[in-house]
Symmetry: C2
Subunit: 391 residues, 2 copies
């Protein structure tokens, strides 16, 4: 096991009706003037935004609002948020929404206290300081509610890039599974896929003998396999929603990622898809993961066989472990299809003729030098083959 | 899933040589004058204490020392520590040792800033305020390095009782598996048993459908089953030590205990044994758990069958699930014996004739009213039968 520091100081407030405590948690973590940041439609229509405002009012905490965050959140709104916070002397950002809203909030939080262009953080500069952020989560997916990460797309060039730093870990995150019960099945499934991808990206390691991390990941994947069909069948199944929501947080606050290398090639390869086609990140991952894993399989057949046996219940083929490894990847693919995810470029809305462009931005865009690197190193030729496998 | 708040803000610094960072972490978390609290022999002999002092000196942080913590730590030394801290204006407690040292440090930390008798907290008063505590862990066992709990034995009456509060969660915990490599096999095994008990106490719930918590617990138990024999066979197996150490922390910071009721009857029943005979807590649990589980089994046969199948690899007997449930408890018992734990009162050094006294203190001592309550409620008759099963 490699040396590590694990620090997850987010206060998770979980359960029915917990959004009513938003005001008291903002106060507890020092906020005196809040920016409520959100997307649009559903948060307003469902009355959630009004309940959050009431909670702030009840605690006599003034606020301003900025809605309009879109999936795959854009830098333009981040700049707008930074300006608004400076003008209004905001000292706390309250994200009401999913991963996109939270990531946009984190970018604003870092940008407000930084003299330069916030995009510097998305080009590799570590975030050391930020306004405190709190979240009220409306979809189990990105794990941003418990992570030190944020992903933003820059309109010029459509670069989708990530930034990181303990300073943007939310101070508190309010997780009410009831809020996810109104999600359309497709969005629920895309969130589930994203959570499973966060687990697979951590499972595909080049470090040896971190059994505890393997076992935690396997446990969370088994939870998803058990709960996902229940949610797709009955969107109002609170217990299934609750299990998925907490698994999603645990999948990405790095509880199950410590002490070893991780992959993240699937995320990088997918990010170009959602940046170009604006598809749901989870849907993109459903198409990307089986292709990437099949391509990477021979790098460590036993690792894929382990997942196949322990997570997917495949029988171990001791003479031909690659058969078992492949069966595990197929089981993942079939599972994702079964919950309604797309299986190829066509269903995703992607185009084969764009592959050269996708590969170029992926491998050379924004400072990269011809390849990406995780579980394996993938150059332009590798990435071209992987995208072609998705067609 | 029941509503819950999960807040684990401890900074875990894990890996080889990490004790050298003690000074910088004390500084990071605001300490300017430290009490180093420890046990005795091994911490001094191994040179660890000197390395910790050097780290504080390198950071120009003054300190005083209080050694002498014994297993099943006593209230007498806590009072001494409180007086010393007040006299020396200490503002940070640094625990160097195992669960006993950490628990004693937490008691001192709470007592220093409290006007009354610190024992009030061990009679049910919640700890709301305390000096900050940091730890350098030397045995994987109690999980106190990541928990809001402390257990102290009061000399008058030999009451062994627990206190709790987020204020005594360590600000940081330094976990270096190398420090555990010099432990005798018996102590390693007792620690392993304690960790497994923390997992079983959380597994035995009366709440339904918290699959995510079940799966995380099962994963950590499977890790222990894989790693424990490797450590007993080769005490210098760093990877196995590392897996056990991190599993021990995760087993007790409540990552795998949220959203549902827990048991803790085994701990209560054992506490009377270690209070009276001063045996190792883990050794006492090895004798206690199989008896308690066998006694509690019919309360929920399927729960024990689940553990038997998923954790111990037992075949499910669909006609007679109680056979499977029992097989799982036997597998646990045999596993604990195989790593060198005692199996009955005699091997533990306990005496059958003391059972009435044990039961009386357990069920009536220190404010209790004739029973203890967890997965099941156990009155004096139940507890008598359970102790008799251990003979």
């Amino acid at each position: 096991m490699e040396n590590f520091v694990f620090y997850s100081p987010t206060c998770f407030v979980f359960g029915k009706g917990t959004e009513a405590t938003a005001g008291q948690y903002v106060k507890k973590f020092g906020g005196t003037k809040v920016l409520i940041h959100y997307g649009g439609g559903s948060v307003v229509r469902s009355g959630l935004l009004d309940r959050v405002k009431k909670s702030l009012n009840d605690c006599s905490i003034p606020f301003v609002e900025l809605g309009g965050v879109k999936p795959n959140p854009r830098s333009g709104l981040v700049y707008e948020g930074i300006d608004l916070c400076k003008k209004e002397n905001v000292d706390f950002i309250l994200a009401v929404g999913g991963g996109s809203v939270i990531d946009s909030s984190k970018a604003i939080a870092a940008g407000v206290v930084y003299d330069g262009d916030f995009w510097d953080f998305y080009q590799g500069k570590r975030i050391e300081e930020a306004l405190p952020v709190g979240t009220i989560l409306t979809i189990a997916a990105a794990g941003s509610e418990g992570s030190p990460d944020s992903v933003i797309t820059k309109e010029e060039g459509m670069f989708k890039r990530g930034a990181s730093g303990d300073a943007i870990r939310p101070r508190f995150s309010i997780l009410n599974p009831e809020l996810t019960q109104t999600l359309p099945a497709f969005q629920s499934a895309a969130g589930i896929t994203d959570i499973m991808a966060h687990l697979y990206e951590r499972y595909l390691t080049n470090s040896e003998e971190v059994e505890v991390t393997d076992r935690l990941i396997e446990g969370l994947l088994l939870t998803m396999i058990h709960e996902a069909p229940r949610v797709i069948e009955n969107p109002n199944n609170y217990e299934a929603r609750a299990n998925i929501m907490w698994a999603g947080t645990m999948a990405h606050n790095n509880s199950c990622g410590v002490g070893r290398s991780q992959d993240w090639n699937s995320h990088s390869i997918e990010h170009e898809l959602s940046a170009l086609y604006d598809c749901a990140h989870g849907a993109g991952l459903a198409v990307t993961m089986p292709a990437v894993f099949t391509y990477e399989m021979n790098h460590n057949v036993m690792r894929f066989a382990k997942a196949a046996v322990r997570v997917w219940g495949c029988q171990m083929d001791f003479e031909h472990p690659e058969v078992t490894a492949k069966a595990g990847i197929e089981a993942l693919r079939n599972f994702l299809i079964s919950i309604g995810m797309p299986k190829n470029f066509e269903e995703l809305g992607a185009k084969e003729e764009d592959i050269p462009k996708l590969v170029d931005v992926l491998c050379n865009g924004d400072g990269r030098k011809g390849s990406i690197s995780g579980f394996t190193t993938l150059n332009e030729e590798d990435c071209t083959k992987i995208y072609q496998m998705m067609v």
